[in-house]
Every structure is written in structure tokens, then in C-alpha cells.
């Protein structure tokens, strides 16, 4: 498989400004540098409005930076790229398509023959644990189930990097925890690289190899924290609490200052 070759995602001196009312410019992101390695799980953590979603959208190729670049190895990302999959907070499932048809969507776009499509869909719906719901429509599913479908829809076209924009933000705490566990499971099985945006410290500490803490607007990289605790992590353990405390302190003090 070509995925065996190690890949790096590079964000280099990235900045983004918006123009407000066509005049005043607002700085959204300033000088973001980030290197994400193959099969790494990186969380971008920051308060609302710090530009973390904008950063993710630029990495996805959905928006253009004012300056700086995003590259996968040597390929410049300035538009959506097959190597990058994205998952939105609102699931973004197509309500007129069944679960199977939603998962098959990306494959249809690339004219994958029906038989092959069906076997890939079967593989991924099993991975999502939703085999009995193949013919259901999104509105018949719970929020957690919908997000599972969105995740495997993105995986079905085999991207190397998965970009996730607060994917569990709209879910209740219990479902959220369950999906975090499932995501780690899928991540380990499929060996994807994940860039995950969240404002939840708990979520970031539970999931990430590294947490990139951004400052409030304009967003800069304030601190990068390595977490080498083994998984599955115990949210009630002393070590977990320590890391969480450390991150919270950063957010409340160093990273809240401009």
C-alpha cells in the first residue's frame, strides 16, 4: 500500500486576515507553524473565536490563507485534496440518502464500480457498528450515530489525514465519551493522521498525542503539549488530572494574555 510511506503535514508561517465591512482588517491567525507526523493524533485547543476552525478549514483547502502555506509532503494544499478528509460538527449527512448511500457518496464521485462500492460500504458500516441501519435515513438516527456515519463516509475514500471540526460538540456527554473511545479505536485500526479541533480540555487530553493550545483572537500557537500516557486513558486517574490541570493553567494564564 502506498500509505506505508510516512507522510508529514506542514503548516508554515500561516496567517489569515479578514476584512470587516470591506475596510478594517481583522487578524484571525498569526504565524502558525505546525508539523503533524504520520499517524499522529493532534488536537487544536482554543477558546471560541480564536480561529481554530479557520485554521482547520485552511488546512482542508476550503479557505485560503493570507500568507503562509499548508503542505502534505511537497504538495501545496490550496484546494480540497484527496488526502484530506473532513468531518463537520453538524454531520453534514445528505438527508435524502440512506446511510449506505451516504457512505457510498465519495466512491460514486470517483466512479468506483457498484460491486466494489458495496463491499467498501459494508466494510465501513461494520466499522461504524451500524450494519443494521444501512437502509435508514439520517433523520432516523441519533446524533451519535449520524456522526459515526459521517466519520466512515470520510474514511471510505481513504484519506491519509482526517480533519475534525469539533465533531462531538453537539452531542451529550455520555455519547461524546463513547465516540471518543470509538474514534481512538478507528484511528488505531486505520492508522490515519488526525487533526482535531476542540474547545474541551478534557477531550483534548483524552485523545491527543499532542495538544496545540491557541491564544484568543488573534490565534497564535501558545504552547504545544506532548502527552505520552498510554491509551485507553483513565479520565479519573491522577496523571490525567495533572495534565488537565497543566493545560487549564496554560489557558487561564499564559495563553489568555495577548
Amino acid at each position: 500500500m502506498e500509505g506505508a510511506r510516512a507522510m508529514t503535514l506542514n503548516v508554515d508561517h500561516l496567517a489569515k486576515q479578514f476584512s470587516k465591512n470591506g475596510q478594517e482588517t481583522v487578524e484571525s491567525l498569526i504565524d502558525i507553524n505546525l508539523e503533524v507526523k504520520d499517524e499522529e493524533f493532534v488536537c487544536i485547543l482554543g477558546p471560541s473565536g480564536c480561529g481554530k476552525t479557520t485554521l482547520l478549514r485552511i488546512v482542508a483547502g476550503l479557505e485560503h490563507p493570507t500568507s503562509g502555506t499548508v503542505k502534505i509532503d511537497t504538495t501545496l494544499i490550496d484546494r480540497p485534496n484527496q488526502k484530506l478528509g473532513m468531518i463537520f460538527q453538524d454531520y453534514s449527512l445528505y438527508p435524502w440518502r440512506t446511510v449506505n448511500e451516504n457512505i457510498a457518496f465519495g466512491l460514486e464521485l470517483h466512479d468506483v464500480p457498484k460491486e466494489k462500492r458495496d463491499s467498501i460500504v459494508k466494510k465501513y458500516i461494520t466499522l461504524a457498528g451500524l450494519s443494521e441501519f444501512g437502509n435508514s435515513y439520517p433523520h432516523e438516527l441519533s446524533g451519535g450515530m449520524r456522526q459515526r456515519v459521517a466519520v466512515v463516509r470520510a474514511l471510505a475514500v481513504e484519506p491519509t489525514v482526517l480533519l475534525m471540526d469539533e465533531p462531538f460538540g453537539a452531542l451529550d456527554a455520555q455519547t461524546r465519551n463513547m465516540l471518543q473511545n470509538e474514534l481512538l479505536d478507528i484511528w488505531q485500526k486505520t492508522k490515519k493522521t488526525i487533526l482535531f479541533v476542540t474547545h474541551s480540555v478534557d477531550e483534548a487530553v483524552f485523545l491527543a498525542d499532542r495538544i496545540v493550545v491557541l491564544t484568543p483572537r488573534p490565534g497564535r500557537v501558545c504552547e504545544i503539549i506532548h502527552i505520552d500516557q498510554v491509551r485507553p486513558r483513565d479520565r479519573t486517574s491522577v496523571e490525567f488530572a495533572k495534565v488537565r490541570r497543566h493545560v487549564l493553567d496554560l489557558i487561564n494564564q499564559k495563553c489568555s494574555l495577548q
Binding site: A60, L62, P80, Q82, L84, G85, M86, F88, D90, S92, Y94, P95, W96, F105, G106, E108, L109, H110, Y137, P138, H139, R153, A154, V157
Partner: protein
């Protein structure tokens, strides 16, 4: 048990309410017709039903009710289709491109409030008397509801639906056919339903134009000239029934195909 009775009672009450007014109108009509005793103003129910119950009987040499209804329907479908074929692509184009929207917007806003019937003299001047004129007027009636709903539907397609497709590698034509069109379809369908309703009203008016010699509108006008009020009223009832029937068909299709619109939270 009690609850079932209550529910039954409420269903009965509702259907009772629905037929209450029609029955009252029919009774009042019959009473008034007898009191007035003037069949040029209000003919008796019987005389109207006599026309309705013999829909294949020739009326004053103008053909029967059924044939004239079919002629009217053919015209309305022709005008409606022409309007849809222009309005849907234009609406999608305007919905997708801000430039195109700006470009067409002012002209659309100006033309929209002009009632279709105000086009009658121009239609006659341009296309003379005949099918083309009628199709033009009917098309004018159907055009704007279809256009505006298509525009609305396209603009209402969720941004993340489109972005998801882009991320998954969709080309522009695939986004159009697999995201925009199905996403906007329920609203476009509403436009078609409203457009058809207006087109149906327009056909009857269009058939009252001078020189027409068939269709329900003509039948009504001609019956007026001959003082056949029962035929006028029978014709109006047929127009109403056909209008309701088509509206119902549109709604049925809507419920079948686009149930997801209501169910999506």
C-alpha cells in the same frame, strides 16, 4: 377506551366542520334560487348538476365539458413546461452565482408584480391570437413562483453539504447534480406546485381572449353570451375541481419524495 372515543369524536367533528359550510352554501343557494326565481342571476342547483352530470354532452355547439377541460389542460401544461424549463435552470444559475443574481435581480423585481393578464395585449400584438399567445401568458404566470422558489432552494442548500462533496473530490457538475439539485428539490417542487396553480388560473383567463374558440374559459364566456348561467357555474366548478386535484397530486408527490425535509432536525 375512553381516549379512543375522544379521538374518534374529534376526527368526526373535524370532518363535520369541513362539510358544514359547503352544505350550508348549497342549501342557501337553493333557497335563494327559489326566492329569486331568476335563472340568469342564480340558476337552480338541478340545472347546474344537469350540466355536470352530462360531461360528454355538447354545449351550444362548443363541444362538451370533458373535451374543453382537456384542451385547457393541454394549454396549461404547455405553458407550465415552457416556464419550468426556463425558470429552473435560471434559478439555479442565479442561486449559484452572485454576479448572475445581481445581474438579473432588478429586471426580475420589476417584472414580477405585473399580473400575467396585463401581458394579454402585448401577447396579442406579438404572437397574434392562438396557442403561442396563451402559452406565453400561462408561462408568465408560472414563471416567477418557479424561479423564486428555485433560487430560494439553491440558496438554502447547506454550505457543509457542498463542502463535504468538495472534500470528497466532487467536480462542479457533480456538486450540481448530486448536492444542489437534490438539496433544492423540495423547494423547487413547491415552486412548481404554486406555479401550476397560477398557470391554471391564467389559462382560463387566456381563453377569454378574443378569437379563442375552445377551452373551459371560452366555454364560460360563450355561455355568458348565450345567457347559459348553469353552464357558467358548472364550468367554474370543473375549474375548481381540476385545480384542487392537481394541487393534491403535487402534495402527494411531495410527501412521497421529500419527506426528509420535514423530518430533518
Amino acid at each position: 377506551m375512553n381516549r379512543i372515543f375522544l379521538k374518534l369524536a374529534s376526527v368526526q367533528r373535524r370532518s363535520f366542520l369541513k362539510i358544514l359550510l359547503p352544505v350550508a352554501i348549497i342549501v342557501a343557494w337553493e333557497v335563494l334560487a327559489i326566492v329569486l326565481n331568476n335563472q340568469f342571476i342564480l340558476p337552480s342547483l338541478q340545472s347546474v348538476f344537469a350540466v355536470l352530470l352530462n360531461p360528454t354532452a355538447d354545449i351550444l355547439g362548443n363541444g362538451n365539458l370533458v373535451d374543453n377541460a382537456i384542451i385547457s389542460l393541454e394549454r396549461v401544461i404547455a405553458g407550465f413546461l415552457v416556464a419550468a424549463v426556463i425558470a429552473i435552470p435560471l434559478g439555479i444559475w442565479m442561486g449559484r452565482s452572485e454576479i448572475v443574481h445581481e445581474l438579473f435581480d432588478s429586471v426580475m423585481q420589476l417584472l414580477r408584480p405585473i399580473p400575467p393578464l396585463a401581458w394579454v395585449p402585448l401577447a396579442l400584438a406579438w404572437f397574434k391570437i392562438g396557442l403561442v399567445s396563451m402559452v406565453f401568458i400561462i408561462g408568465m404566470g408560472a414563471f416567477f413562483p418557479i424561479l423564486l422558489n428555485t433560487l430560494d432552494g439553491v440558496k438554502g442548500v447547506k454550505k457543509t453539504w457542498i463542502e463535504t462533496a468538495e472534500i470528497l473530490g466532487a467536480k462542479e457538475h457533480q456538486i450540481l447534480s448530486r448536492v444542489i439539485l437534490p438539496g433544492a428539490a423540495p423547494t423547487i417542487w413547491t415552486g412548481l406546485r404554486v406555479g401550476f396553480g397560477i398557470a391554471w388560473m391564467c389559462v382560463v383567463a387566456a381563453e377569454m381572449m378574443p378569437g379563442t374558440n375552445s377551452g373551459l374559459g371560452y366555454l364560460i364566456m360563450s355561455s355568458y353570451n348565450w345567457g347559459q348561467v348553469p353552464v357558467i357555474i358548472a364550468g367554474m366548478i370543473v375549474i375548481g375541481i381540476i385545480g384542487v386535484g392537481f394541487d393534491y397530486l403535487f402534495k402527494m408527490v411531495d410527501r412521497r419524495l421529500f419527506a426528509w425535509r420535514e423530518l430533518e432536525r
